[in-house]
């Protein structure tokens, strides 16, 4: 074990000795989280919303509320027109009110709205704005209703307090049989999705940086010298891998903490998220070892690591969310560790999943890790016989 730790410690020191690594590990990922978050959810002004309702007080109040929130509201005469607006993409979100909703609004009791979310990447965020504004309007109506039942000011104030705490927000029914995307992103905040995607993308890229480092160690003869000591190939591989996985975990924990503090990103169970990251980091370290043993040129390995890491990230949902993929592309994505890790992290983040819930994803990632690490170990042994 001490041998493994000694090798891991040296890997860490070598990594830290190159100051440029700190930029790619600590600064760039957070910058990307910020940029993607701002693109995804910063400015919803002017987003088109199509509404159909009886035209009573509820309809008028909701339309006014959404317009106050800078949404471009179009009032339609039939539900079919609203559906058409959404399906054609001329509205990000459609909202349907019926007479019961009008009556509930009038009576200050929970009302039901039907929200139809579009398929664009903007739609979930616009739906969030629609929902939040509807809740505010419904709550205000309930408060006003309560106030009107009391005569003097003291009673009115007490009633207002009651309304603030007791009156439930408007109950919204999201229509979704045709739109699983809206379900997947329900409750997702501006920076959440980008943070997970960038976390996995950059952890993988940083860990693949072990490949050129291993080639340099092989070329310098350090690997041969290490193997001439009383060290087994397994110990050497474990040490090399451990060093990189520690870097991955530190980087991951840093991105989680910083994005949480700076952008309010929610990560769900930190322990489960870190476990997913650990197994994902093992896959990345294994891939790095395989590249580092198969390729003899540091430049080629760097290119392969960056290019391969970006392609795997893109296919695996770290650039465009997996929820937007077609079924075929989704199946292709499942060949990448990113897809499984993104899936697991999404469940942890959005649905508060525990270890048991993400066991399938962890199992697949663990199998991938074992595969590449065993392959790397065998190749490392073979590489000792090969001159560089």
């Amino acid at each position: 074990m001490r041998t493994v730790l000694a090798i891991a410690w040296v890997e860490l020191r070598r990594f830290l000795a190159d100051r440029s690594n700190l930029f790619f590990v600590l600064i760039l990922p957070l910058a990307m989280v910020a940029v993607i978050g701002w693109q995804f959810g910063s400015d919803r002004s002017g987003a088109p919303v199509s509404v159909q309702g009886p035209g009573g007080a509820a309809t008028q109040a909701l339309v006014a509320g959404w317009e106050d929130a800078d949404l471009a509201v179009t009032v339609r005469t039939t539900p079919e027109l609203v559906q058409e607006d959404v399906s054609r993409g001329s509205a990000e979100v459609g909202v349907l009110l019926d007479a019961e909703a009008e009556a509930a609004y009038r009576d200050g009791i929970p009302m039901e709205l039907e929200i139809i979310s579009g398929s664009s990447s903007e739609a979930p965020a616009v739906a969030q704005v629609v929902r939040a504004q509807a809740e505010a309007v419904a709550t205000e109506a309930a408060q006003v209703g309560l106030l009107e039942t009391f005569g003097d000011e003291a009673e009115a104030r007490a009633a207002l307090d009651d309304a603030s705490t007791l009156v439930p927000p408007a109950q919204l029914l999201v229509q979704q049989p045709e739109d699983p995307v809206a379900v997947a992103f329900e409750g997702v905040e501006q920076f959440d999705t980008g943070a997970v995607a960038q976390l996995l993308l950059f952890v993988f890229l940083s860990t693949l940086n072990a490949a050129p480092a291993l080639i340099k160690a092989r070329r310098d003869g350090v690997v041969r010298r290490t193997m001439a000591a009383p060290v087994t190939t397994t110990q050497a591989m474990a040490g090399l891998t451990a060093g990189r996985v520690v870097i991955a975990l530190v980087q991951g924990a840093y991105i989680m903490l910083a994005s949480s503090l700076l952008f309010g990103v929610r990560w769900g169970s930190l322990g489960v998220a870190l476990l997913v990251l650990l197994v994902f980091g093992l896959v990345a370290a294994g891939v790095a070892m395989v590249i580092g043993v198969l390729v003899d040129s540091e430049g080629a390995a760097s290119g392969l690591a960056v290019g391969g890491g970006l392609v795997l990230g893109a296919v695996g949902g770290s650039m465009v969310p997996l929820e937007f993929y077609s079924d075929t592309l989704r199946q292709v994505a499942q060949l990448t560790p990113h897809a499984w890790a993104n899936d697991a992290m999404a469940e942890v983040q959005r649905q508060g999943a525990g270890i048991a819930d993400v066991l399938p994803q962890l199992g697949v990632l663990a199998a991938m890790a074992v595969g590449v690490l065993v392959l790397g170990s065998l190749l490392l042994r073979r590489s000792l016989a090969r001159a560089m």
Partner: protein
């Protein structure tokens, strides 16, 4: 009979159809320095790799301090210090950090490791530079650190694979003095080189390797005896060297003549060079050679190699 520190028997290794090491046997006793001398590509480094447990032989055995490398590699490696031909150090780390790391790989810990690191830094003259990143070192200093790592755990057998390649004369001399001191302390040393002078200076016994085989082994004097005491004469110049080669070969004192590949140079083994030199020069110039230089030398390992293989060591 003394148990040898290193016993190598009939080592053989092929890469594809090429047999790189073909039946090499060696023995190194405590306090003895044995050299493996041969040109680049002779199979020295492959032999070293098998002795160090880095490469599995196709056939044959390696025993270090009586431990069979194939059966218990970790135990055998504990007796072994390897100084590879490459500068096998982490350039990002200081000399001290490199030594601590490789010491830990050898199972050393705590006070014993700290004491030993200080000792070897002193031995190789790097105490003053112990904390600076080794990438800032000169080539000679890196070579010395390379050797210090091999010495750290006080191995019974130290293998030095071409340790002076690319170093300045001053550092080379310092390295050779260190090796001499080590064998004086009882360490067994296996030293590979293609520099004849180093082998002659350091080694108690020398194995001459060519094309994967040890073609001769013995002390320096025993090996030189193989040539029958012939001197080496080298003619350097221009002209029809093929014709000159034939002409000088006809002189009775000249035993062998070889052209050095790619150079305008003829090397010959001559019995009694001082007496024959004027005839050789006259014959060469008579055959059309314009001489630039004539060198004569007493029998040495170069002439042994030439005698045995028909090639110069540098070929």
């Amino acid at each position: 009979m003394t148990t040898p520190v290193l016993q190598v028997d009939a080592l053989r290794r092929s890469f594809g159809p090429a047999t790189v090491v073909d039946g090499v046997s060696l023995r190194v006793d405590p306090g003895e320095t044995v050299g493996l001398l041969g040109p680049n590509g002779a199979g020295k480094t492959t032999t070293i790799s098998m002795i160090a447990g880095l490469l599995r032989p196709d056939d044959g055995s390696v025993r270090i301090q009586g431990v069979d490398m194939a059966k218990d590699p970790l135990a055998a490696k504990r007796h072994l210090g390897l100084v590879p031909q490459d500068l096998a150090i982490y350039p990002e780390l200081s000399a001290r950090s490199n030594l601590f790391f490789f010491g830990r790989l050898q199972g050393m810990r705590g006070t014993a490791l700290r004491r030993r690191v200080a000792e070897v830094l002193d031995v190789v003259g790097l105490t003053d530079r112990a904390t600076g990143a080794s990438k800032t070192f000169s080539g000679g200093m890196k070579r010395r650190l390379n050797i210090a790592i091999g010495l750290l755990h006080e191995p019974r057998l130290l293998i030095l694979d071409e340790p002076t390649v690319g170093v300045d004369p001053q550092s080379r001399n310092a390295i050779l003095e260190s090796v001499e001191a080590l064998s004086g302390e009882g360490m067994a040393v296996l030293y590979t080189t293609h520099y004849m002078e180093e082998a002659e200076r350091l080694c108690d016994r020398i194995g001459i390797m060519d094309a994967g085989r040890v073609i001769a082994e013995g002390t320096r004097d025993e090996l030189v005896e193989i040539t029958g005491g012939a001197d080496t004469v080298t003619l350097v110049g221009e002209g029809p060297l093929d014709e000159v080669e034939v002409a000088v070969a006809g002189i009775p004192a000249v035993r062998e003549v070889r052209r050095v590949a790619g150079e305008r140079r003829l090397v010959m083994m001559v019995q009694g060079a001082p007496q024959a030199i004027s005839a050789i020069v006259a014959t060469a110039t008579g055959a059309g050679m314009t001489l630039r230089d004539v060198e004569t030398s007493r029998p040495d390992l170069e002439s042994v190699f030439l005698h045995l293989t028909g090639k110069a060591l540098r070929d």
